[in-house]
Amino acid sequence: MTAEAVTATPAWAMLAYLVAGVLFILSLRGLSSPESSQRGNRNGMIGMAIAVITTLVLHGVGLPLILGAIAIGGSIGWFIAQKIKMTAMPELVAGFHSLVGMAAVLVGCAAYLNPAAFGILDAATGEIHAVSRIEMGLGVAIGAITFSGSVIAFLKLSGRMGGNPIMLPGRHIINLGLLVGILGLVGYFVTDQSPWVFFTITGLSFIIGFLLIIPIGGADMPVVISMLNSYSGWAAAAMGFTLQNTAMIITGALVGSSGAILSYIMCKAMNRSFISVIAGGFGAAPEAAGGKGGGVQKAYKAGSAEDAAFIMQNAESVIIVPGYGMAVSQAQHALREMGDLLKKEGVKVSYAIHPVAGRMPGHMNVLLAEANVPYDEVFELEDINSDFAQADVAFVIGANDVTNPAAKTDKTSPIYGMPVLDVEKAKTVLFIKRSMGGVGYAGVDNEVFYMDNTMMLLADAKKMVETIVKALGH
């Protein structure tokens, strides 16, 4: 009745943590529509403030140091948030995930070194509770995987490391072995709480996180980043179990399911199983994949910005299909300008977003919002796909695989079965592409390029759109 009685949480604090948890639920609920989203975000902040203040009141020893730490971290975070470019959101989110992972590992280590403070010490034996050891082991393992995985994702997304998958021979065996090793050690940790067990779990988890993400590249990044999002949640939940803290458990469960659902949506949008994404290596062999008559140079029609401007001016409706290429060349502002000019001419302009366009879920929507495109002109795949048949122009900018009709017809294509935007059904397809040489991330040729009603606009996306804007101005 000693250690536990001292650290048992009083009722008011438990209620406060519960309130924080509920506020976190409301913060996600707010995101169901843009109108309520800011209120949701505020709920999240209030929840966090309640959780932090409650903890400080309960354990407020050494306050100056703690407040200093919060001030340092907080100002760094705030500064980054103001400076970051919207096109760099994917790597920012990956970077933030790595911090959650590392924080979980550090908290796990701290709890291991000072179990009494966390109320997980069994007074009778002087050892850590058996259940707590499992929770702690799992929490540290997931945290470490989140950390090293997110660091790799960050390096890949920010271009500091090649986006191509790196394939180690026998990596499935190695990863499986590591996973079994980690789980085995977590089990063994129950019987033996010596430091080597704890720190080997941590070390192996760092390694497996690194190995898991290394072979995944390019188009699969949206899944990776959602998956790491999920892991960071489970890490928080596991720590919540150790600390018996409802706010942490509720939040962990929310974030964990959120990331899992996003991964599911992304996988479904690519018609790939989660396992095959994790196994990695997609888009590793571009030459060999799909597309009949690969070697032969097929005929295509190239056009100029003036041609494109003329066609769109005389159209009744234009559907714009943005993809990752738009983000890379930062063309969203020029694109919005083009849309405005067309609307002035009486053309109906809308935007069609494929779920995996970009490098993270919802990436295109944020970029268009940044460029002041009203969100009610932006539509998801299933809401707009039937409109292409009536549209005069489909304007594809920096997207490729998500428009490839081979996904519907060619059973041998690696992207077969993936839901795609039916751009080829529009009367005219304007396709902005840097050059005819490159192929999309899936490494598949796109027959839309060679259709009679397609005009290829070969240039940097931003320059091309700017020239079109100039041409429209006359």
């Binding site: 976190f24 902040m45 000072n114």
Partner: protein, 101 residues
């Protein structure tokens, strides 16, 4: 609290999360990731306990805790601020945007 009551909270929260997240509009999936990122830093609670528990505990544990407080704070402030910045960009059609740069 007993393990089973904690587990019950966890399982219920998973279901709540499942339904709440499906109701999030796909257009806001990026802000969703940013805000989940911020709230998962509630792990700062553990970090605060570690860093305030110096009395009778290990020094290392305290400093590990403080480092975790710094990391989690980056995430909390950064995550909420960037979400706020993004959400402020989502506008409806009627409001004519002031001339863009």
């Amino acid at each position: 609290m007993e393990f089973l009551s904690i587990l019950s909270i966890f399982v219920m929260a998973c279901f709540v999360g499942y339904y709440v997240v499906w109701s999030v509009t796909p257009a806001l999936h990026t802000p969703l990731m940013a805000v989940t990122n911020a709230i998962s830093s509630v792990i700062i609670v553990g970090a605060l306990i570690a860093s305030s528990a110096a009395a009778g505990g290990s020094e290392t544990s305290k400093w590990l805790g403080l480092l975790a407080v710094v990391l989690a704070s980056v995430n909390i402030f950064g995550g909420f601020a960037v979400t706020r910045r993004m959400l402020a960009m989502y506008k409806k059609k009627d409001k004519k945007p002031a001339a863009a740069k």
